[in-house]
Symmetry: C2
Subunit: 224 residues, 2 copies
DNA sequence: CAGGTTTTCAACTAACAGGCGATAACTTAG
DNA sequence: CTAAGTTATCGCCTGTTAGTTGAAAACCTG
């Protein structure tokens, strides 16, 4: 006969802060994994869908309205992932625009994703899966909108991409390619120039702020 | 207090048969959904991972060695997806090369994905999600290897892509693009020409038969 | 061997990526 | 007010890639 595992939902919430990609973690105070850092989440309740559940749990940590994107990431059910009970976990990937600074509870904070502290359960692997998903989608979808403020200059956007991808990005090419693909739209406004001077940057926004696949293998497109 | 849902694993097994993309379904003989068609799968047992579990269940339907690819697709936990019990389901996407013809149990058979019979639970939506995942990955990954025989002619491959994508594909471009990306390799052999004559086709194979992301947004590649 | 069928390739056009340098538009210091 | 510094933007050039077309190659059958 089959067993009934407990089911938990988790979220890898990512934001570019201070020029680095960071993930939201809270520090455990109870066994197992006392002192280790864990992803926000919790038990699935009766009557709620998986997405409802992760939104409810996240609401205890951050304002859910600040999430610009939320998608299912991976489900892990390895019998040894939890030391005492059989547990299946469904992880989501959440993204927060870089201009927001949510209020956080005392036990919760942002951590640069390339300097993770000790993590609980299999959360370390889940975080890395989230980063890989984000990097891949930056390449073939318009998911940049979820990292960026509503309106931004090209160099701001270049810095966001560089932080998420982990390497330098050319602003010239980024602008040309995103404009040609019609993902970006000039707002007509200009940003006030910074303290160190320089030409004021034109401001852009993403034409759509919902996920769209943009980079399709031309050979495989339907004939026009 | 949280409940403990039962957990089932499912598989959307796809194959191009007779020039059409088809999915493996079995016909239910018991309530609920008597007579409706369902995805293969079953309960998660203690001590097994999700992937172990779906492989075990699939083994009752097809020879698991014939699966060229298996990846996690989606987890659904909508409280109304099952009429009597609270159930969370993790679906996998499995692919079978088009030259295999697995032995099937009596209640199990292939169904063209664009002429689905009445399906049980939320399996219809899961099947469509599987098709979308396949179509997307044909565009940015080398997943064609999982649909194709070990060795094949370009026009065979074109027909496979056309069936999976649902529209015509140019053989000339397909060959050039896949060769330039070094996904394909000529074997040097040639196929015997068919009954209606014609030039014998050169045979190719995929250089790698494990999943690789191939179509990366050039701006976002690490600088060389 | 003529005519039909299928595959393959060469050539051409158009679009795209990437790099570089010039110019524009602001700042602050003197 | 002007010069020097800073940042953003644009135009041009080069090499690469996608897509189309048409011709040639390599087989079959009658």
């Amino acid at each position: 006969m089959h067993e009934k595992p407990t089911h938990v939902v988790l979220a890898v919430v990512l934001q570019v802060r201070d020029g680095r990609l960071q993930v939201l973690l809270w520090q455990r105070a109870q066994a197992p994994f006392v002192g280790a850092f864990a992803l926000p989440g919790g038990y699935l309740l009766s009557g709620e869908t998986l997405e409802d559940s992760i939104r409810r749990h996240l609401a205890e940590k951050v304002d859910v309205c600040e999430l610009s994107h939320l998608e299912q990431l991976v489900t892990t059910g390895d019998p040894v992932r939890h030391p005492s009970e059989r547990q299946v976990a469904t992880a989501y990937l959440g993204l927060v625009p870089s201009d927001l600074d949510p209020e956080l509870p005392d036990d919760t904070d942002w951590h640069p994703i390339d300097e993770l502290p000790e993590t609980a359960f299999d959360h370390g692997a889940i975080i890395l899966a989230g980063r890989e998903r984000l990097r891949a989608k930056l390449s073939y979808a318009n998911i940049g909108f979820a990292l960026a403020p509503h309106s931004f200059s090209i160099s701001q956007l270049r810095d966001l991409y560089a932080a998420a991808l982990g390497h330098e990005v050319s602003a010239t090419n980024l602008q040309r390619v995103l404009l040609r693909r019609e993902l970006l739209k000039a707002t007509g406004e200009r940003r006030a120039s910074g303290p160190s001077g320089g030409r004021p940057a034109a401001l852009f926004r993403f034409r759509s702020r919902t996920l769209e696949i943009t980079d399709q293998f031309a050979v495989l497109r339907p004939p026009s």
